[in-house]
């Protein structure tokens, strides 16, 4: 007896062909994304590498490009990010824990849930104007680092809440049950069984949220609107500027040299962003390994 493969053969070549087309599309997608990123990086580096000097990092802004630097903006960015993290992480993780673990399943909760997702998509300038009217004018915080950090926190809170909730939701029910069965009360179960498990995921959310905040210029334009700062902020009530605003200002200058300077600033910003991300990724991998080995 011989086996008849004829029908299957026809079918097979067709299926393989479709598979190859699909693969080609996927590769094309990867290529386009990578090309965009790589050409951007190459252009910025070619234009700006000469300008990345101690002057750029340690000098205050100046009319003369060769003397201008972003010391005030760099410190302003670091200061604001630190304060933003201090405000956002406890609030965001707390909100996520409440919504996932404690909130009763009713229409108020689902209303909050839907709106958290919606808020994550609101344009950042809207948050800038909100921060301007609430923190700067109504609460009279002036154009301070505190007002900027609070505004930035509003902007990234929804992102962090969503990510943290996903992380908490992904903790296996078996771990919760095991902790309850050992006589844990709700808070002990959350603290000792749920949070350690969700920690890598929450950390990823923190990275994503802070990465978004560090590059945002629009809300900061509304809050600080300052470029020429020749001091570094000390208290949270001091005025400040941030790197994206400084870079934006340099790009819009007529002199060519300032565009080189802007490219240099972008390189510094990217280095800051990438090193922040890698520290967080290393931390996350360390904890993930511990929990999955």
């Amino acid at each position: 007896m011989s086996i008849d493969f004829k029908l299957n053969q026809n079918n097979l070549s067709r299926r393989k062909f479709i598979g190859i087309i699909f693969l080609a599309f996927c590769l094309l997608g990867v290529l386009v994304a990578m090309m965009g990123l790589i050409s951007l990086l190459i252009q910025v580096i070619l234009q700006g590498y000469e300008w990345v000097t101690p002057n750029l990092i340690f000098n205050y802004p100046s009319r003369h490009p060769e003397q201008a630097g972003l010391w005030a903006a760099l410190i302003g960015t670091l200061y604001m990010m630190g304060l933003t993290a201090l405000i956002t992480v406890p609030t965001g993780v707390g909100a996520a824990i409440y919504l996932e673990e404690y909130a009763p399943k009713n229409w108020i909760t689902s209303f909050i849930e839907i709106n958290t997702s919606n808020l994550a998509g609101v344009p950042s300038i809207v948050y800038g104007l909100l921060g301007l009217s609430i923190f700067v004018y109504f609460l009279k915080l002036e154009r301070s680092i505190l007002a900027g950090s609070l505004t930035m926190s509003l902007l990234i809170l929804p992102v962090l809440i969503l990510a943290s909730r996903e992380a908490i939701k992904a903790v296996p029910r078996a771990h919760r049950e095991a902790a309850f069965a050992l006589g844990g009360d709700k808070w002990q179960v959350v603290k000792m069984a749920v949070l350690p498990n969700a920690f890598p995921g929450i950390l990823t959310g923190v990275i994503l949220a802070l990465s978004r905040a560090i590059g945002e210029a629009a809300p900061m334009v509304a809050i600080t609107a300052l470029v020429y700062i020749t001091f570094i902020p000390v208290t949270p009530m001091d005025r400040f500027t941030v790197m994206p605003i400084q870079i934006f200002n340099w790009v819009s200058r007529p002199q060519d040299d300032f565009r080189g300077l802007a490219a240099g600033g972008i390189i510094v910003l990217l280095i800051l962003l990438l090193s922040m991300n890698s520290v967080a990724v290393i931390l996350r991998n360390k904890f993930q390994k511990r929990s999955e080995e």
């Binding site: 399943k105 296996p172 078996a174 771990h175 049950e177 095991a178 902790a179 309850f180 069965a181 050992l182 006589g183 844990g184 009360d185 002990q188 000792m192 069984a193 350690p196 498990n197 511990r290 929990s291 999955e292 080995e293």
Partner: protein, 263 residues
């Protein structure tokens, strides 16, 4: 149908009285009454969906975690009605421990897994001693004594399940509930757990749910046979000494089930 065990009443540690249980509108258990003897192994058997796990979870109020569950009747633990208003389920669970179907150690070290319950319950004594005791009792000590700091997931499935038993033993419960503890294990792991159950009954009262009738026959002193009726609601068909259930069942349904006429 219900065993009258009048000869030694003080030996009864758990008394289930007319227990009915509901998930929302669905009734999962109907009018179940049985007495659990101390320092004995009681098996709960029956086909899938008859409510044996639900019954087991009534003993340590794990069903409270489902928001729409409702219980009627009583479970008396020693002299305490564990479903009375004044009883905190958290306290019940520290006296009635539980081991689940799939090994579920925490993603922590072997040591920290066993220490978990002690920490939760605010134990202030010598942790090393208690952990060694629990691991010896669960027959795991010799295999892990040199690697207590290793992650629990580096253990085999059977070892993980014995670790879960050690974790439950660490807080010195009176009763241990085993919910199909070997269904995810290989034959060797299964034998080790069964041997362990035989030893543990000297110090603890054990209630084990199993879908494996041979296992019930091997490890248990008494067996409860549950069956779901036409409305898919679980009822207790027969409860007796295991040797009677398997050699001389009184009810036709029991006989049909243990001889494999339906499953």
């Amino acid at each position: 149908m219900i065993l009258n065990n009048e000869q030694n009443k003080s030996n009864i540690i758990l008394r289930v009285k007319n227990l009915s249980f509901y998930y929302g509108a669905f009734q999962a258990l109907k009018n179940i009454s049985l007495d659990i003897e101390a320092n004995k192994v009681t098996a709960i058997i029956g086909p899938s969906g008859c409510g044996k796990s639900t019954l087991l979870r009534c003993f340590n109020r794990m069903n409270d975690l489902f928001s729409k569950s409702k219980l009627e009747g009583q479970i008396i633990f020693d002299d305490l009605d564990i479903y009375s208003q004044s009883i905190d389920p958290v306290l019940i669970r520290s006296k009635i421990g539980m081991v689940f179907q799939k090994p579920n150690p925490f993603p922590k070290s072997i040591y920290d897994n066993v220490a978990f319950g002690l920490r939760i319950n605010g134990f202030a004594g010598n942790y090393d001693e208690e952990i060694e005791r629990a691991l010896i009792q669960s027959a795991l000590w010799d295999e892990v004594k040199d690697r207590l700091k290793d992650n629990a997931y580096s253990l085999s499935g059977g070892q993980q399940q014995r670790l879960c038993i050690a974790r439950a033993l660490a807080i010195r419960p009176d009763v241990i509930l085993l919910d199909e503890p070997t269904s995810a294990l290989d034959p060797i792991g299964t034998v080790k757990i069964e041997d362990l159950v035989n030893v543990l009954k000297n110090d603890y009262t054990i209630i084990i749910v199993t879908h494996n009738m041979q296992q019930a026959a091997r490890v248990s002193d008494k067996t409860a046979f549950l069956l779901s009726g036409e409305d898919r609601c679980g009822i207790l068909i027969e409860y007796d000494y295991t040797k009677n259930i398997f050699s001389n069942p009184k009810m036709k349904e029991t006989e049909d089930y243990i001889t494999g006429r339906f499953s």
